[in-house]
């Protein structure tokens, strides 16, 4: 169980400021949804937390301790958007998950791999397959298993269902919610889809042009949005039936 705290995070690429002075607290065992349009800096913020984007200023604190520039298996793990790009095409599924495990004996390792694959609903006998034998949804499950195998205190999910079909999206979201409740990690769930964010999150943070413009409990933010960006995003959620638009 860990909490994630961001203090004054700023990310600059040359003269371009992608993320500016963001303060955000993801309390332990809860889910914070991070929403915003494209270019709002939400993905960059997620990448900055795990060290994939250069932090110009600010601190990332996990359980109150500065993450700094430490090496090795981090307490924060990230699941990528595109499951077709996030798994090494030459590596078997089992090896990909094993990479996240602490170094142990061969036998212990394969039981652990099987356990994590089972956890995400992949038959452990498929550990010998390479990703190209799996569908998009299955690949995303493997990516999730790999992230969880590193026993993260905090999980960052970066648009993890936007490359998936709707029927698969439901299954991945169910799984993610169930695992989050069972394992109790804190989660930063990045998405442009407010309906999905609403379904998973306890708290919602809204970003626009690199700044955090609104943050609060999901119900409050979606019912009484205070910032114009939040209102725009809410107005842009496509609905299937006209009846739902009214509610």
């Amino acid at each position: 169980m860990s909490s994630l705290e961001l203090r004054g995070i700023t990310v600059r690429y040359g003269r371009f400021t992608a993320v500016e002075n963001v303060d955000l607290l993801v309390p332990e065992g809860t889910v914070t949804g991070l929403v915003g349009g494209s270019g709002s800096g939400k993905s960059t913020l997620g990448k900055a937390v795990v060290g994939l984007a250069p932090i110009t200023a600010g601190q990332v604190l996990v359980d109150g301790g500065d993450l700094g520039r430490r090496r090795g298996r981090g307490p924060v793990q990230l699941v990528f958007q595109n499951p077709y790009a996030s798994l090494d095409p030459r590596m078997t599924v089992g090896a990909a998950v094993a990479e996240a495990l602490p170094r142990t004996g061969r036998a212990a390792r394969s039981t652990e791999v099987a356990r994590y694959l089972e956890l995400v609903g992949i038959d452990p006998s498929r550990a010998v397959l390479t990703p190209d034998a799996l569908s998009g949804g299955q690949r995303q499950r493997v990516a999730l298993a790999r992230a969880l195998a590193a026993r993260p205190g905090v999980l960052i999910a970066d648009e993890i269902t936007s490359a998936l079909d709707v029927s698969v999206q439901g299954a991945v979201l169910n799984l993610l919610r169930e695992l989050q409740r069972e394992l109790g990690f804190a989660m930063l769930f990045i998405s442009h889809n407010l309906a999905v964010v609403r379904y998973l999150s306890d708290q919602v943070a809204v970003m626009d042009e690199g700044r955090l413009v609104e943050c609060g409990p999901t119900d409050r933010v979606l019912r009484q949005p205070e910032h114009a960006t939040t209102r725009t995003l809410l107005a842009c959620v496509p609905t299937i039936s006209p009846a739902e638009e009214a509610s």
Partner: protein
């Protein structure tokens, strides 16, 4: 149904593909040449070594004879034997130099990824400078540095190969180092060296091997060149280049003696090239298919009767549309649809359902190996296949607006081209119309924007420009294939509104293809749901929530989280996965994933039949729908 062959596995292991390639004529030739070369290199010196070195002062500079096939040299040594014996040294030196080049290239190429940013840049810059250096000059320079002799020449040529190999490896590793899976490994704390050995090297192995074989052929040539110039192998050792050097003086007296070492060099070089070809074939898309079967002729089937509802008023009439591929896979399996004048029709389905190919078939844009067959495709009374209408009355909007606009041309120019080509307008007329159309899709200060290039537009504006391009003619039908998928949520709405607006203003019909039911529901009146290459339901948008008859449609609708979904309930899911285009095709394609499926569903395929007013469904157990009694399929069809 005709029997469909099982699809070839597109991505089997390299070893598997290599084995398959070796069975082709190219593979057999390459393998044979390699074996011959190896045998000669190993056995040559043992069998002919003595003869090649025996000095015979009685037979100096003889021509070709029975005793000496290629004659003798100035010490009376048999030239044929010397050419055979030289194989070993020539090959040894070539392979050693190749190893030096490849290993050095790999090390230098991977270095920027392993070293820090600053050192990495230094290495990249150094390699860049060395690549710019003329190759032959570099070899000669190194040969002088390393000293005359075979070892010196080997190092010189090996080192000279390093920069180009390093550049190739650098380029390849840079793209892999930027990939998500390497980023994931970094987050997991995988060390730099493990990163290289586990992720980088395996993913560049194939092109590297290909490059190595090509380099070997070049190295053999360079070596022969150096020896020929006297900088390489020194007497009493000899390789083919050295023999060439010795015999060239007598080329007018005994030409075969001079040509033989040259022929050996050429043949060996060709062998390396062949090996490279085998690698390229096995690793690339050119890998031969395990089985190729021409598609069975659809016309052999009894043509299905045209539906009597082929309404007069319909704009588009499609009957029994099929899109197949040469390996026998069929992605669209008999789609029939009608689009009325001014109607907005949605086509939804998951990836691989064939919805995009259906749309492309209407526009006659199915990519190359695909074959379109249909009992009928008419558009506005004309047969679309003989008389395509793209550009005038049929407009197409694609998913990625950046890819559908030419980055090098000004947007206005691209639009006016349509009018010039299809409508015969003059340049000035076309330009005026382009500006007019750009303002019609609400692009502010259209005259100025028309002079800009696509990269100066935002994503949403590009998509507007593409829509404007469709409006250059007088479209009666706009086909939009996932027009908002690549766009931001906030822009998505604007583009959908624009499509709806275009429809009301021009009276054009709209075929909107999307994986997102909500997008379709916003713009369309009627929705076709596709699954595994067939339409399974045809219903009004208002019926999508709650009124759908096909279990698949219901499941699809139920799976989408909305702003009213109770966060404490599980989202509905559809177990299993859709069939692949080549899978066995018996019964209802959705049966394996359907909770309502019975034996009948698994054995006999339900046809798309009408019920209520204008609704159709292909299901034996439709939810809440009363089907007419005569829905049993024709016997002949059930038996096939």
């Amino acid at each position: 149904m005709p029997h469909l062959p099982s699809p070839s596995v597109p991505s089997s292991s390299l070893l598997h593909r290599l084995r398959r390639t070796l069975r082709t004529p190219l593979g057999v030739t390459a393998l044979t040449a390699c074996i011959v070369l190896a045998v000669v290199a190993v056995l040559g010196p043992m069998l002919f070594g003595a003869e090649a070195d025996r000095v015979d002062t009685n037979a100096i500079d003889q021509g070709s004879s029975m005793a000496h096939l290629l004659g003798t040299d100035d010490l009376g040594r048999d030239i044929a034997a010397r050419v055979v014996v030289a194989t070993r040294l020539s090959l040894e030196l070539t392979l050693q130099a190749t190893v030096i080049g490849v290993v050095g290239g790999l090390l230098l190429g991977v270095a920027p990824t392993v070293l820090g940013r600053r050192l990495g840049r230094l290495v990249t810059a150094t390699v860049g400078v060395l690549v710019a250096f003329p190759g032959l000059l570099f070899v000669l320079f190194l040969a002088t540095v390393f000293g005359v002799g075979s070892t010196g020449a080997m190092f010189a040529i090996g080192v000279a190969t390093v920069p180009s190999m390093a550049r190739l490896v650098q380029n390849m590793t840079a793209s892999i180092a930027g990939s998500d899976y390497v980023a994931a490994a970094r987050i997991l704390g995988v060390g730099r060296f493990r990163l290289v050995s586990r992720h980088l090297l395996p993913n560049i192995a194939e092109p590297s091997a290909l490059f190595a074989t090509q380099a070997a052929a070049g190295i053999l040539l360079s070596f022969s060149g150096l020896s020929f110039l006297g900088l390489g192998v020194q007497a009493p050792q000899y390789d083919w280049g050295r023999l060439l050097n010795e015999q060239l003086n007598g080329i007018y007296v005994n030409p075969v003696a001079a040509l033989a070492p040259g022929v050996a060099v050429v043949l060996t070089g060709l062998t390396f090239g062949l090996v490279g070809e085998v690698f390229a074939k096995a690793s690339g898309r050119r890998a031969p298919l395990s089985r190729q079967q021409p598609p069975s002729e659809q016309s052999a089937m009894a043509p299905a009767p045209l539906p009597d509802e082929s309404a007069e008023g319909a704009l588009v009439q499609v009957h029994d549309l099929r899109v197949g591929f040469p390996d026998g896979r069929e992605a669209v399996r008999g789609v029939s649809l009608t689009i009325g004048h001014g109607e907005a029709l949605g086509l939804v389905g998951e990836s691989g359902s064939g919805k995009s190919l259906t749309a492309l078939a209407l526009a006659d844009l199915v990519p190359h190996p695909g074959r379109v067959q249909a009992a009928e495709i008419t558009f506005d009374g004309h047969d679309l296949r003989s008389d395509p209408h793209l550009g005038t009355t049929l407009a197409m909007v694609f998913q990625d607006p950046m890819a559908s606009l030419n980055p090098a041309l000004r947007v206005g120019r691209q639009l006016s081209e349509v009018a010039e080509v299809h409508l015969g307008s003059t340049r000035a007329q076309a330009r005026a119309r382009a500006v007019d159309r750009l303002s019609a899709v609400r692009i502010p200060s259209a005259a100025r924007r028309a002079r800009q290039r696509p990269h100066e537009y935002s994503g949403g504006m590009r998509q507007r420009a593409v829509i404007a391009m469709g409006l250059m003619g007088e479209p009666k039908l706009v086909i939009a294939d996932e027009p908002t998928t690549a766009l931001d949520v906030t822009v998505q709405q604007q583009v959908l509104d624009l499509l709806a607006e275009v429809r009301t203003e021009t009276g054009a019909a709209l075929l909107l293809i999307s994986h997102d039911l909500a997008v379709v529901a916003q713009v369309c009146e009627r929705v076709l749901v596709m699954y595994a290459g067939r339409i399974v339901e045809d219903l009004p948008v208002a019926e999508l929530v709650g009124g759908a008859a096909h279990p698949y449609t219901r499941a699809l609708v139920g799976a989408i989280p909305t702003m009213t979904t109770d966060p404490n309930t599980e989202l509905a899911t559809i177990p299993g996965r859709p069939p692949e285009p080549g899978d066995a095709d018996q019964g209802c394609s959705f049966a394996p994933r359907c909770a309502l499926a019975t034996d009948r569903c698994r054995s006999t395929r339900p046809e798309l039949v009408g019920f209520d007013t204008g609704r159709r469904v292909a299901c034996w157990h439709p939810v809440g729908a009363v089907l007419p009694l005569d829905v049993r399929p024709v016997d002949a069809e059930a038996a096939s």
